[in-house]
Amino acid sequence: MITLPRWFRRQSILMNETPGGPWGPGNDDDKSGPRNPWAVPPGGRKGASRPTALDEFLKRARGAGGGGPQLPPGVTARNLWLIGTGVIVALWLVFTSIHQIGPQQRGVVTYFGRYSGILDPGIRLTLPAPIVDVQKVDVEQVRNDDFPRDGGENVLTGDRNIIDLAYTVRWRVENPRDFVFEIKDPEETVRATAESAMRAVVATTTLNEAIGAGRTTIEARVTRAMQQILDDYQAGVRIQGVSIKQASAPASLVDDFNAVTAAQQEAVANLNNARSYSQQVIAHAQGEAAAFDKVYEQYRLAPEVTRRRMYYETMEAVLGRTDKVIVETPGVAPYLPLDRLRKVPDAQAQPAQQQGGQR
């Protein structure tokens, strides 16, 4: 600290002396050149040689009267040393024996390296370091690990298909002691376990299960498998859950998978059409049958009359809408200009009809 101003000055002089420096031509000795604005004026920086406050203090601490005012009586150099040491010791005690444990944290206490217990949240006092060491571990906080870290990853299914999988594992520290002491890199271990468990589970399911209804089962199985593996390691970790964010066909196969969906919809549409046809046909048949039944009921009551009535009604309806030619003599039909008869306009055909009728 005390050498800082001097160092600065020296540095500036050095820069000034550098030939070909960025601030002006190299021939700095040539007094006719432009003056370097950064250069220190002759005689050094202003005030650089003045004693600093720390100088003063040290001087006083050494007991030298110096030019400044005298220390108050009773404060000797020895006392100053004691105060200094006292402050350092106090700071050391404050910083190493008072521990603030957050609500989500636990403090793992080691006494000369040996595990001695857990500190609950709050302000806790322990013996100072290096006797006691406290390591804070987030316990309540649920950690989220995303797999893979970027995009999707290809996973082989049991039927040798490939799916694009992305999932999240939620976990928290259950046993801070095990978490701290049993495994070297617990976070990495959880990740590796998750990948291994997920792939092992997916490898026993089929493609359709994995991208469809089987997700929940897979999630549950992976959670169980991970918990078991981590318990074997005594990792002190509780897997809260695994959630599959994405399980789909690889991007290059999306069209083919869509084609399957389209085919399914087409099949459903086909079936719907068939069902509506079926409804129509049957309803029609029932209508026809019911109509026949009604008529037949009446017919049975008076068969001959009904029959004739129907006959005449039908003839009426039919002949009323058609052109008619009545031929008196049998055998003339071949000679009739039938094609011309056809072309007779309706208006002219009408009287002809009446004539025929009166005959």
Binding site: R177, E182, T189, P250, A262, L271, A274, T322
Partner: protein, 291 residues
């Protein structure tokens, strides 16, 4: 002027005391095992891992004293460590290539052996892991080479893992290592033709599925239609078989109306001219009853 009054002397004495204390006492944390070398000659191990140890109760962690400047401490991690193996190409019995990422979790249970077998006095764990990695690779290739590809994708996988673990354990004993677990992280088809052909087979499988679904749908639809026709036929037959003769007449009447457009439906396409003989039964009343 006594020594106690000379601050510089006190300072030096304190410094010397600190140095001696630091060289004598050492804190063995729960996470570390210590091998004490006396003139490079191993004397003892402290806080060595034992099965069934409970942390904080019967471990050797704590403050230890040694002979200053003579005893040297080599630290070896006590926790479960990890040896990762990435992208190992494995050939299954059916000659399918797989890219395998695997890891072994291990614990150094005999730190002395670990230190002597690797000849290291620092970073022993890393050296042990370096030694284990090729062993793990060999074990993987050997064991996975014995099974067909498909069994890697089945629960049999567990047995394969166990075989790998056992094989690795045999080789790892010389390093004072206990293999806790071996697991396959990834088992992927290598980039290029194997991956492509897998994707291709998926593609064709999808197409086949789509075609099947479509055909099944058509089949179902056809069946539904045919059933409807059959039901309709039965309804007709049930109704009309009550009087086949009357039905014939009734249906003929209906048919005439429809054919000549007299039933209120759409008009028939061709216009109709009816040529009737006067003997037609419809016209017979023109003659009058008297005839």
């Amino acid at each position: 002027m006594s020594l106690a009054r000379n601050p510089i002397a006190i300072g030096f004495a304190a410094l010397a005391a600190v140095i001696v204390a630091a060289a004598t006492f050492a804190i063995v944390p729960e996470t570390k095992q210590a091998v004490i070398l006396r003139f490079e000659n191993p004397v003892t191990t402290i806080n060595q891992w034992q099965p069934g140890q409970v942390i904080g109760r019967n471990t050797g962690a704590g403050l230890i004293a040694r002979i200053p400047f003579i005893d040297k401490i080599v630290w070896v991690d006590k926790r479960v460590l990890d040896a990762d193996l990435d992208n190992t190409l494995v050939l299954s019995t059916d000659q399918l290539r797989l890219n395998v990422d695997a890891f072994a979790r291990f614990r150094i249970v005999d730190p002395l052996k670990a230190v002597t077998s690797t000849g290291s006095t620092s970073a022993t764990e890393e050296r042990v892991a370096d030694q284990l990695r090729p062993l793990l690779g060999t074990a993987l290739r050997n064991e996975l080479g014995k099974v067909p590809f498909s069994s890697l994708l089945t629960p049999e996988r567990g047995d394969v893992m166990e075989a790998i673990q056992n094989s690795l354990q045999r080789n790892a004993r010389q390093y004072g290592v206990q293999i806790v677990d071996v697991r396959i992280k990834h088992a992927d088809l290598p980039e290029g033709s194997p991956l492509e052909s897998a994707l291709q087979s998926m593609r064709t499988a999808r197409q086949q599925e789509a075609n099947t679904i479509r055909a099944q749908g058509q089949k179902q639809a056809q069946i539904v239609r045919a059933e409807a026709d059959a039901t309709a036929a039965k309804i007709y037959a049930d109704a009309f078989s009550k009087d086949a003769d009357f039905y014939d007449f009734y249906r003929a009447m209906q048919s005439y109306r429809r054919t000549f457009g007299a039933d209120g439906g759409p008009a028939p396409e061709g216009s109709t001219t009816i040529l009737m003989s006067r003997d037609n039964s419809y016209l017979k009343e023109f003659e009058g009853r008297g005839k």
